[in-house]
């Protein structure tokens, strides 16, 4: 067994508030950091701190490797003590990074229409998926649409990058921008027009949003993979803290680790209640 994994130390090279309470952090990492696959995440921790004690799982939003320079970007909203501490990090702050971790989205080599559905910070992994497709030969020509929703206009972040990558449709819960309502309803309106056998859907967002999506797609022969969010302690599968209920082959409930068997699951396998 090769001993090739360890925690890497990175330097924060920018940590910018892109919308109120929303931050985009770029971390410069050693060359040894593997290139993340779409849907994978990192465990990020402030070096030398016992408060917050645990790392926080964050999806990879963007990644670049140019010669010796490796930069991983994450997008986060301040929701608790951990992300609040992240928001105070300055240029040059030292962070510990474990990863990339978890099961990635299935990437299809060709001939698919790609639908991305993002709720809130779910835009982060969706952007990385879009970028991954656009960076490949087949994906550069694929038809791709992103549906992205947030509570209000002020919470819609990272739209610019997504708009460069693909056609982007917007919804807000309060109607301050785009479609007035849930992003899943916006998608539902378009659903009858899709060639579903040729379509692959990727989604990430709050659990109620994904549950609503599951209801729309029920009994439909369409491939849909979703990335789940869950509190984690280790991120590597040992603590069993991040489990979610999944249907096994016989339809029985089984707990699977979001960090290891996920965070990406087939939407049809998830048990919502």
């Amino acid at each position: 067994m090769p001993l090739n994994k360890r925690i890497l130390t990175g330097d924060v090279i920018s940590n910018r508030e892109v919308a109120e309470g929303h931050f985009l952090m770029a971390v410069k990492l050693p060359f040894a950091f593997e290139t993340p696959l779409p849907g994978q995440f990192i465990m990020l921790r402030i070096k030398g701190k016992s408060e917050p004690f645990l790392g926080r799982p964050l999806s990879v939003y963007a990644f670049q490797r140019r010669r010796e320079k490796v930069i991983c970007e994450v997008l986060y909203r301040v929701v608790g003590k951990g992300t609040q501490q992240f928001s105070l990090l300055k240029f040059g702050s030292t962070v510990e990074v474990l990863g990339p971790l978890g099961r990635s989205f299935t990437i299809f080599p060709s001939e698919k229409d790609v639908i991305l559905i993002a709720g809130g910070m779910g835009i982060a992994p969706m952007t990385y998926v879009a970028g991954h497709y656009r960076g490949s030969k087949a994906g550069s020509k694929m038809k791709m649409i992103c549906y992205t929703g947030a509570r209000s206009m002020d919470d819609l972040v990272a739209l610019e990058r997504m708009e460069v990558l693909c056609k982007t449709k917007v919804s807000t819960d309060d109607g301050s921008r785009g479609y007035h309502g849930m992003v899943t309803d916006l998608f539902k309106n378009d659903f009858p027009t899709l060639n579903i056998k040729k379509t692959v859907i990727y989604a990430c967002g709050p659990r109620p949003m994904l549950k609503a999506l599951a209801a729309i797609l029920e009994d439909q022969p369409v491939i849909c993979e979703v990335s789940l969010e869950e509190r984690m302690a280790c991120g590597v599968g040992v603590c069993l803290g991040c489990v979610t209920a999944i249907k096994d082959d016989r339809g029985n409930k089984q707990y699977k680790r979001v960090c290891k068997e996920g965070p990406v699951f087939n939407i049809k396998d998830i048990m919502w209640d």
């Binding site: 917050p52 004690f53 302690a233 040992v238 991040c242 209920a245």
Partner: protein, 313 residues
């Protein structure tokens, strides 16, 4: 001046000799495979695997964990693949390493503890058992056995007669007098005592006014419980004559050395593994450096060396 390579670090637990005093705590290292790309298991004193019951257990519903000040609460609920699947699917992998394999065992009844012990005793590659009578997150078994000296005596004695492997009894801190429990385990034939398991705790979401754990309560671990663990190790060390394995918030080599001075012959690293998969290695390296710098040729000279009188200023 002692040289690093001459320092004696072996630890005896019953008939088992560990090469050094550092091992992971059960439940923070999976079944062993999970950290194999991070840690050279040949360098560990032992691996302690996730608690095993006779049948597979699904565990508690999520959410199962929540961070707290300098630590975390967990209520996993003894999710595990069961002892048979462990022997068939996980143990072969562990046999390739030099370190001892300690199986943590759990039962809802005394009979189940004994049955699990029997099954593991017949498996090649298990070197000791750690009896978990201290899990706070299950309805039956676990801590229910660990808070009553008479029950501790019964479980320990019966497990001992079900196996020829060394038996370590893992104690709960959720008791009034830890020493009474420890003495009961020793009297019933335990080869070593490990302590502490987690302390029962709670965390509330003030917006939804619900517990942050589906199980309502959970077990507190991490640096937050270290001073309590250290005090309990010291108390138990003074009452028993079998080895004490210190557990509770050990994150740095300095933490581990504190436990040894207080009487721990060996240490388990738990929650620290969750923030640093290499925590066991860092602690081991640091202990060796400490022994070298302090010119201590044998780890045993450090164990229980707490001085009760303060030097004159």
């Amino acid at each position: 001046m002692v040289h690093l390579r001459d320092i004696k670090t072996d630890v005896k637990i019953g008939s088992l000799t560990l090469r050094n005093p550092v091992m992971p705590a059960s439940g923070t290292f999976g079944y062993g495979e999970e950290f194999a790309e991070y840690v050279d298991y040949n360098l560990l004193g032992a691996i302690v695997v996730k608690g095993l019951s006779l049948e597979p257990r699904a565990g508690n519903p999520p959410p199962r964990i929540i961070e707290t000040a300098s630590g975390m609460l967990n209520a996993i609920g003894m999710e595990n693949i069961g002892v048979q699947a462990f022997i068939k699917d996980k143990l072969p992998f562990l046999r390739q390493f030099r370190c001892a394999v300690i199986a943590n065992i759990y039962g809802e009844t005394v009979e189940e503890y004994c049955k699990v012990a029997e099954v593991l005793s017949g498996a090649e590659g298990v070197h000791a058992l750690e009896v978990n009578i201290s899990c706070p997150n299950v309805e039956k078994g676990g801590v229910a056995f660990g808070t009553d000296p008479a029950m501790v005596h019964e479980v320990t004695g019966k497990v001992k007669s079900s196996t020829n492997l060394p038996v370590i009894v893992k104690l709960s801190p959720n008791v009034t007098d830890i020493t009474g429990i420890a003495v009961s385990a020793q009297d019933a034939g335990a080869d070593a005592i490990s302590l502490i398991n987690t302390m029962t705790g709670m965390s509330v979401d003030i917006i939804s006014r619900t517990s942050n754990l589906a199980n309502l309560t959970g077990g507190l671990s991490g640096p937050a419980i270290k001073p309590i663990a250290l005090r309990m190790v010291w108390e138990v060390y003074n009452k028993v004559n079998i080895p004490v394995i210190g557990i509770g918030g050990i994150t740095t080599p300095e933490d581990a050395v504190e436990f040894m001075i207080a009487g721990a012959s060996a240490v388990q690293i738990g929650t620290a593994n969750l923030i640093n998969p290499l925590a066991t290695m860092d602690v081991l390296e640091g202990i060796l450096t400490y022994l070298e710098v302090q010119d201590i040729a044998d780890l045993r000279d450090l164990v229980g060396s707490l001085k009760l009188e303060r030097p004159e200023e």
